[in-house]
């Protein structure tokens, strides 16, 4: 999408997609830091099922949609997920894991958790926003 504004159709599609995502995060209890930490401490392996289920559905959509549809239902084109393996990816992923292990909160649950009335997550949200700010200020572009 070149324009930054959204048509009403795209607005609704993006909102509905986010709502499914957020509902799933709440249903799977991933919005609760304690559940994530219990996975990271090998007490409950549920997060493997969450990831497995999500990846499987995503894999099907990413593989099948471009073949069956040709282009997205609301126009535009099918984007591709691009990632590179370099020092930034390694360092970034390692730091992300340390932070995740400290607090049990990652970006999706930090946002979705607000919908469950868990205002303590605003601290994590503020931390993530400040971390992203610091990364942008340090980056050389």
């Amino acid at each position: 999408m070149s324009a930054s504004s959204l048509t009403p159709g795209k607005f609704l599609a993006v909102l509905a997609a986010g709502a499914l995502f957020g509902f799933g995060l709440a249903l799977s209890t991933m919005v609760q830091p304690e559940v994530v930490l219990s996975f990271l401490r090998f007490e409950d392996f549920g997060l493997m099922l969450v990831m497995g289920g999500a990846v499987l559905v995503t894999l099907l959509a990413y593989k099948l949609a471009p073949r069956v549809l040709g282009r997205p239902l609301l126009g535009g084109y099918f984007h591709q997920h691009v990632s590179h393996w370099n020092r930034d990816t390694l360092t970034g992923a390692a730091l992300f894991g340390v932070g995740w292990g400290l607090c049990g909160v990652c970006p999706g649950p930090a946002i979705a958790g607000l919908g469950t009335g868990n205002w303590s997550l605003l601290w994590a949200l503020a931390g993530i926003a400040l971390g992203a700010l610091a990364q942008g200020l340090r980056a050389k572009v």
């Binding site: 995502f21 799977s28 209890t29 292990g101 958790g113 992203a132």
Partner: protein
Amino acid sequence: MNEAISLFPLGWQHYLLGGVFIGAGVALLFLFTGLVGGMSTVFSSTWSFVLKRSFFQQARLTDTRVWRLVYALGLVLGAGVWWLLMSDGTPLTTEVPVALLLVGGFLVGYGARLGNGCTSGHGICGLGSLNWPSLLAVLTFMATAFLTANLVAWWLA
């Protein structure tokens, strides 16, 4: 069967079903708009509304900042629907201390943006694209997260 019970002391169905819903959200976004929906970029792109610095004014952030915010709003709404319909209506809370939420959050934000992805970007979208750099990123953050969480638990015990 006993093995399965001990792996999932709180049951397993809600985990799998929740994961399918998350995947359905990412899939719906892709089917209708062609967009790839990781969650961490919104924490960079939203700064572009207020900061003029060239890093935040990159097209990949300014062109996507509106839909990413709408996507984030949807996340809150969807979790709110679960809270209204499927919980007892008590707001959820966490025992994780504020300092850990803040410091952990900072590292999560810094790391996810430096490494260009988080649990949803590298995890769900990257693995769903069979992208090997994302697999390496996932293995890396899983390893440091396991290590950190266990060290903290051992230190607090």
